[in-house]
């Protein structure tokens, strides 16, 4: 009999292989055939769920299979409600009807200006009324619709920007001077950005760039546009699906964080063991120039917070030597959080890196040129996104450009520092192996905690933590910045942000708690910690600090909610370890209670803490 966990792994790998085949050749027949098996595929792939309403000025139903299959491939089950054809603004305004009943998590507003103000796209600049006025009127309506919707719902809004007109009536004289087609189109897109900013939790999607990338002449099929009001050509359904998924990933907490790179024929040309450090191809002439460009793109990702690691089958020390001392290397030791150079299987190296970084392999991307290594990784760790490099190194840089899964709506200071922070974390692990006992290790770290109470400087980071933290997250609620701000301002709640620094560097905000206060009973409604700092008693110190604060405020009980998910299981007994007792046996949620009178609220002596709890 096969182990059920192994069996689930096989089903997962097979379902992903089906979706990968669709991705490799997304013809209508492949899309439709795979979509017929959607429920079966969704059962085999662990996923988050999102409810998405789709409001469009064209027939959007043909895109549904592509959006849902591409979502599932990213680990998101997207259930879609489609508004009546062409009813974008009325649906937004009348949000109590179909849209309100559906209660979406996210609303996709796919309005094409070409559908609502065709004059602009047909080059008619003053057809009874000025086209600029018609465009402004439509944006007024859309803006009013979004404002009306926002009053009723906090769902995330995703609004497509407008594609560039192609038929330019002034021909060679078309410029972006005032009143030209291009000028009107540009103002419309600027206005859209303003509408999004005013609304909050509303993001403009780069639809124009998507059309431009594929070329307008290829993107639009005038036959299906005129016959069925389906402007997007069938060969681009999948591209559209992937475009939408880019925006869903951060909402579902499905962003990737780590890239694990092979070395030989990936970071440089040739085999280090055969060619030696002086013989590998890396430098200003091809093929070395292709690898330099590839590394530069990786460095750019590292600088905006993606963590880079190396897993190479080579003599231990040899790859490290190249990274340290090859004159043409772009990636240097400071950029690589973790290097595993040995002859052991790569899935073992990846598991080891996951443990070192305290991150789950489902946030990893693995890049290798070898089909054998890629196949082994896909079979052993299907949750890792495995990418096999093309044969021609000149195309490597494009692989980085098309990498899926790293998108975020906002970039915080922590993001930019993340690579360095994880590097410091790996160094700490080395110190740990040298320390005699854990307390001496902790004291050696010289940790400083700083706790912000309703500190609005941390709103963006707090919201981001709720979206990205999956493991140490007691009650996985995803919050927008507005949600956090509201909780900070409410009289009966408190948002606590925990920052950590130590002698290796500043980790920034790593802990978040949302506390609901009543006279004698405080409730830890949300408690989450960044996994990279676990194992240093920071989480229990945070709870001890909160307990002390509750006690000082006159409370007799501190309660904590734990709602199990696939990811947070390792921390199910955290409250127990802090001295809490369970009060319910309901498996969907456990309410833990700490009697403050008898609780130990002392914070270990290895922390410097501010504000210090009063004594």
């Amino acid at each position: 009999m096969t182990d059920p966990i192994v069996q689930r792994g096989i089903a997962h790998a097979e379902a992903m292989a089906t979706l990968d085949r669709v991705c490799a050749e997304p013809t209508v027949i492949h899309l439709v055939s795979a979509y017929r098996r959607f429920d079966e595929l969704a059962a085999a792939i662990p996923h988050a769920a999102l409810k998405m309403a789709c409001l469009s000025t064209f027939t959007a139903e043909p895109l549904t299979p592509a959006i849902r299959l591409a979502s599932l491939r990213a680990g998101i089950r997207t259930d879609i409600w489609t508004a009546p054809f062409g009813q974008v603004v009325p649906t937004l305004i009348d949000a109590d009807k179909g849209l309100g009943r559906f209660a979406p998590d996210v609303v996709l507003v796919a309005a094409r200006l070409a559908d609502v103000v065709p004059d602009l796209y047909d080059g008619l600049l003053n057809n009874e009324a000025p086209t600029a006025q018609k465009v402004a009127d439509y944006l007024d309506q859309l803006s009013a619709g979004i404002a009306a919707f926002r009053q009723r719902s906090q769902a995330t809004l995703l609004i497509q920007d407008f594609e560039r007109p192609c038929f330019l009536v002034a021909g060679l004289n078309e410029t972006d001077s005032a009143g030209s087609q291009i000028d009107i189109w540009q103002s419309a897109n600027r206005r859209l950005q303003d509408v999004a900013t005013v609304s909050g939790n509303c993001y403009v999607m780069g639809y124009d760039a998507l059309v431009a990338h594929h070329g307008s002449a290829s993107w639009i099929d005038p036959r299906t546009e005129l016959y069925g009001r389906i402007p997007i050509a069938a060969k681009h359904y999948w591209d559209y699906g992937q475009f939408v998924v880019r925006y869903l990933r951060p909402l579902a907490g499905k962003t990737r964080k780590v890239i694990i790179l092979d070395a030989d024929n990936t970071l440089w040309g040739g085999i280090l063991g055969d060619d030696g450090i002086d013989g590998i191809k890396l430098g200003s002439d091809f093929p070395g120039s292709a690898f330099v460009r590839f590394q530069r793109r990786l460095l750019a990702l590292q600088q905006r917070g993606i963590i880079l690691c190396i897993a190479s089958k080579n003599e231990p020390g040899s790859v490290e030597n190249v990274v340290n001392s090859h004159p043409e290397m772009v990636l240097r030791p400071d950029h690589i959080a973790c290097m595993r150079v040995s002859w052991s299987p790569k899935p073992d190296a990846v598991r080891d890196i996951a443990e070192t970084l305290n991150l789950s392999p489902d946030s990893f991307v693995f890049i290798d040129d070898s089909p054998v290594e890629c196949a082994m990784m896909r079979e052993t760790l299907p949750e890792v996104m495995t990418i096999q490099l093309p044969d021609d190194p000149a195309r490597y840089a494009d692989v980085i450009a098309s990498l899926e899964g790293f998108d975020q709506f906002t970039l915080s200071e922590e993001d930019k520092q993340r690579g360095a922070m994880y590097k410091a974390e790996a160094d700490r692990k080395q110190l740990a192996s040298a320390a005699v006992d854990l307390p001496s290790f902790y004291r050696g770290l010289k940790m400083r905690l700083s706790i912000g109470i309703n500190d609005e400087r941390f709103v963006a980071r707090a919201a981001q933590m709720t979206q990205r933290t999956n493991q140490f997250n007691m009650h996985t609620i995803r919050c927008s910045e507005d949600d956090i701000r509201a909780q900070m301002r409410a009289a009966d709640s408190e948002v606590l942000t925990l920052s950590l620094s130590d002698r290796f560097g500043d980790s920034g905000v790593v802990g978040l708690a949302v506390v609901e206060k009543s006279a004698n009973r405080w409730l830890l409604h949300m408690l989450l910690m960044s996994c990279r700092v676990l194992g240093r008693t920071v989480e229990s110190a945070f709870v001890a600090w909160i307990s002390k604060r509750a006690l000082d405020a006159g409370a007799v009980e501190l309660r904590g909610v734990f709602v199990p998910t696939v990811k947070n299981a390792p921390f199910a007994d955290f409250y127990h370890r802090c001295g809490f007792e369970p009060t319910t046996t309901d498996t969907d949620a456990v309410l833990w209670v700490l009697k403050l009178i008898s609780a130990d609220t002392t914070i270990p002596d290895w922390f410097d803490i501010e504000p210090a709890p009063s004594t």
């Binding site: 209508v28 027949i29 439709v32 043909p62 016959y227 069938a234 060969k235």
Partner: protein, 81 residues
């Protein structure tokens, strides 16, 4: 694969009808899943399979397997006599 079988595979794949039930007189009125949405899917899937492009008026007209075969024949796809 013969063109006849290729076409059956496409019709079956898009509409979810068994290949054994697919014959020339099968039309959009016989099959529940052959709705306006799937009709566009069927037209584009046939185009992708055979590397042809139907004129727009054909999209409105090719509502049976036999009609699709006839237009494909006129575009040079051989279905035998």
């Amino acid at each position: 694969m013969k063109n006849e079988e290729r076409l059956k595979a496409i019709v079956s794949g898009v509409l979810g009808v068994g290949e054994a039930d697919i014959h020339d007189s099968l039309s959009s009125t016989d099959v529940d899943t052959w709705d306006s949405l799937n009709h566009i899917n069927l037209m584009t899937a046939v185009e992708e399979e055979f590397g042809v492009r139907f004129p727009t008026e054909a999209m409105d007209r090719l509502k049976s397997v036999g009609l699709i075969k006839r237009d494909l024949s006129s575009l040079g796809i051989d279905f035998g006599a």
